[in-house]
Amino acid sequence: MKKIAMIAAVAALSASSLTMAQSFQEAFDMNRAMYGAGATFEWNGATYNTNYIEEELASKPANQANAEALIAAAEAKYKEAQEAGFAWRDNSKYLKQAQEALAAGEFQKAMDLAARSHLQSRRGVEQAAYAEQNWILAVPPVN
């Protein structure tokens, strides 16, 4: 009986430790939801901000080199999302608009649009990884 209780406790602990390994994302998501971009939060003794990587990239100086670099990154991420089969509907539209803004010399606008496309593609890639592990949970169980 004692052995069974021990097994159950360790199994439960294994499960909870797996959950704890994901808690940075939970902390980030919670702080982002509560405070939006530009805030900071503590996690495991260190300080982090609530910005998405795309917001960091789009806040660099607005010039041609930075706009081109961000568009190139967004295009690469879009390709990755497409290959996973999880590109979102408006990604290509934002990229096209970013290219048009770049051609017109509107560098900040180009960077904002490319950042938006990059964020959508990144989310699509994350969605693909999540789906691969979890899609089966939606199937009605066999009785």
């Binding site: 052995k3 021990m6 097994i7 159950a8 406790a9 360790v10 199994a11 294994s14 499960a15 497409q82 089969g85 999880f86 590109a87 979102w88 509907r89 408006d90 990604n91 290509s92 959508q120 989310r123 699509g124 969605q127 999540y130 789906a131 899609w135 089966i136 939606a138 199937v139 009605p140 169980p141 066999v142 009785n143």
Partner: protein, 286 residues
Amino acid sequence: MKIIKTTLLAMSVAALSQSAMAAKTGATLDTVDPEADRIALQDYMKNRFPDTPIDEYINGIYAVDAASRAQWEEIEEFPPYELDLEAGEELFNTPFANGKSLADCFENGGIGIRQHYPKWDDARKTVVTLEMAINECRTENGEKPYGWKKGPIAQVSAYMAYTSRGSEFVIDIPNDDAKAAYLDGKKFYYTKRGQLNLSCADCHLTGTNRLVRADLPSPALGQATHFPVVRSKWGDIGTIHRRYEGCHRDSRSEYLKVQSETYRNLEYFQTYMSNGLVVNGPGSRK
């Protein structure tokens, strides 16, 4: 030492319980069981709508929502697909320039065969939909293919479906290659995607008969039986792939081309889920 042994045993139990769950539910080619999936879906619907007989699911949302059904029955008094049926019959019987016709490309002259489509083509290792077979017949006989989503392709398909009305779907999954295509379609159906993070199942399984804005999504069971359909929103007749494109786009995904392999596998899965239900296409829908 004893504690270490017990710990290892416990971790094995935890790992085994996870793999056992995956084995039961059919996420891999080794474990997927189409017939168990079909029965599980029927059981789900019986539980959700205990007063609805299984054979009623060919009528989509009209099987489970009385108010929608009353409107639909009024519409069906003068079926909006009647003219398309006549046009489809005429197109079906019009000989090609080489003297042959669509009837020459199908078993039984193309009459009463809808219930076997989509079917697995083992030589090409792919799923062949009825619309694909119609267009392949045309091109093999020197004719231009029809457009894929509406118009003549849907009219001919509607006529062929009409000749099968009342026959039970008998979609066959003859081997592991076909089962892989079925699994691909099943996975697509249950996978969340797009900016709205929606799967087909979100609307048509858990979300069926629950308002999505002003719409009530149809049940997942029997969705393939009544296509092609005249949709009030379209104002004309269209194929099931036209609907796939719309649904996929509505989830804010980058949608696929109609008759792509993924959509054909999806149709294969969905129609297998309709096995045992009768063909009632063409239909009319909101």
